[in-house]
Symmetry: C2
Subunit: 373 residues, 2 copies
């Protein structure tokens, strides 16, 4: 197994865990947030900036890299690490999520999925075996089983079928693997406890080095996600890293850590940065707002990132209003630091046995992240 | 006078000069290239990246900053330095160039220019006195006289009138100034030696701390610009910095340094970086070209910039083809380093008395910068 994972301590009053994940390219302190580097680049960021934020593990998207520049090219150029120059670790998703959310004309069967490229309409097929072969060519530290995604509004019959198919595909992924990359299983099952339990039991039987919860953050209300988090992490082996895919807002991260999850990824810090929004210790700021035009303060008085130590809200607003690239660059940088600082605060609280008090104080501040200011 | 300028040495076989310009915010080794930071940001670059490239003096555009966020806002936020966070020196142009090239509905009289904003059509007037007041609010180390620009195809009568008006306006600029910023005069006169001599004589009489050649790089053939450079630098005082505005390609810079010019600005390194082009020691590369798709080499084997030390042409092409912001960011960074390295090479050759040999070797390589590869 190419990774090692240790739970260093657990919250005495709950289920939160402080762990350490050692991969071939980086040691990752958990709970950990992974910035998303869809096309082997974290949008609007240099890799030095990503490293400086504290991130050591980034996600890259197999679907996008499969289509362009293609797995053979990435492999020839030294895999994702040699290709991109990122000094930390990579995790690749299976391609399934983007096939189901982006690709037109897709047809699903037990064999796999055929679809057309969203670039040029060319026809492609992704199967569990092909996803693993592509992920092996990309060469990430951690790779994911190919699974079938269904939406929040899927009928129980669809949920049953997708859950069963995802398990069968996971078995084929494990059988197809030829490298010692860490292959993570993905527990599906939608929003039904029995279905989640069945999926987890099947996945555990594969004895994989890590496990993810999939099928969350697909449009369900917050309370519904939290309900799944109340039981689903415990269905995953305690001695393996637990990865909550595609989550989320700061509130979601704190709730999920409290529920026992270790790893997270989300496009929010980068996407918000490109849409003139910053998450701060006081909540969310919209830098398009006129109120910032003459404000000398940094985005976040509690933040030590290069954006906050060097630039005012007034300058950032000017950059955004002027359509200058430095606006998204600096806002993305801040948001990446904000997410890493949030995880570091949780890790520090866990180390001192004070996670419960920390979380209580976090919730007491009652900040709004999805609103604007 | 807020600046000091010393000619440290001159080329024993020619007119090239190695100098040092000390401004309130930076010491600038000359010959020097100024990156353009139109809206108080060098496009696609952090200020740390601009500093790391070796640049110490950047240009900002009065016209753009006058319209947005406005001189009062910039002044309130600490001038260009406090506003942007740039640790080096700034030079502002007078606004004239953009009024004549960007603003619709402009009307010129001896008093000044009325025009409409290219943002919202609002009506504005820029006079010599107003240009100086705006540049004083912006607070750059070096400011420029307001002048009238005419194109390469202007009739002699228009050239005469614009040259005379620019001189009259320079006198009003000098009279209007209330700060100790270094005000540079601009010698106009188009492509006629007699007119250039008359303009320079009038400007010299104002005894300003620095002088620029304006009205070049306005569409004329290279040979015509070189012809002006054969006599015009000598019309400027030898003990003051000589600034060639808006120039240019590497060839132009070497020719202008050889002719005795000290300072340069141009949008080329940043604009090329945003259009997938890199200038290298071997000539110009177009990163959209398929030939780079699997090329592991850096952009430039002779370059030590962060882009060249960390990334391959293949990765850069992938970023460009994927529309990722990191593509322009990394290409701009390289181009900024390339320009600074070119100036550093010329300064080093001047220090060892070998500029003539260096320039001969430069020309012997016969590289093409405006073509594509």
């Amino acid at each position: 197994m190419a990774i090692a994972f240790d739970v260093l301590t657990t919250d005495p009053g709950g289920r939160a865990r402080r762990g350490r994940l050692v991969t071939p390219h980086a040691t990752v302190e958990t709970p950990a947030f992974m910035p998303v580097g869809t096309q082997a680049t974290v949008k609007a960021s240099t890799w030095e900036q990503v490293w400086a934020s504290g991130a050591r593990l980034c996600l890259a998207n197999t679907y996008h890299l499969y289509l362009r520049p293609g797995p053979a090219t990435v492999a020839e150029l030294g895999g994702l690490h040699g290709f991109s120059g990122w000094a930390g670790a990579f995790l690749t998703d299976s391609g399934g999520y983007q096939v189901f959310s982006l690709a037109p004309m897709r047809q699903v069967s037990d064999a796999g999925v055929t679809f057309r490229s969203h670039h040029d309409g060319s026809r492609h097929e992704l199967t569990p075996e092909r996803s693993i072969a592509v992920q092996e060519a990309l060469g990430a530290d951690i790779i994911m089983c190919f699974d079938e995604l269904v939406g929040y509004d899927a009928e129980p019959r669809e949920q049953d079928a997708a859950t069963a198919r995802s398990l069968a595909w996971a078995e084929r992924c494990a059988a197809a693997q030829t490298t010692d990359q860490a292959l993570f299983g993905i527990v599906q099952g939608g929003f039904d406890r029995g279905r989640r339990e069945a999926s987890a039991a099947g996945m555990r039987a594969l004895d994989l080095p890590g496990y993810a919860l999939g099928g969350l953050s697909v449009g369900e209300p917050t309370a519904v996600m939290r309900e799944v988090l109340s039981y689903a992490p415990e269905l995953l082996p305690a001695d393996r890293p637990r990865y909550l895919m595609g989550v989320g807002w700061p509130d979601d991260l704190v709730a999920a850590v409290a529920a026992g999850m270790d790893m997270f990824d989300c496009v929010l810090p980068t996407r918000l940065g490109r849409t003139a929004a910053a998450l701060t210790s006081e909540g969310r700021l919209n830098l398009r707002n006129q109120v910032h035009a003459r404000d000398r303060r940094p985005l976040d008085p509690e933040c030590v990132c290069p954006t906050c130590t060097r630039h005012s809200r007034a300058y950032l607003r000017h950059l955004v209003q002027s359509g200058e690239m430095l606006g998204p660059m600096l806002l993305t940088q801040h948001n990446l630091w904000f997410y890493q600082a949030l995880m570091a605060q949780m890790r520090a609280a866990l180390e001192t046995g004070s996670f419960g008090a920390w979380a209580e104080a976090f919730w007491a501040r009652g900040r709004r992240w999805s609103g604007a200011n």
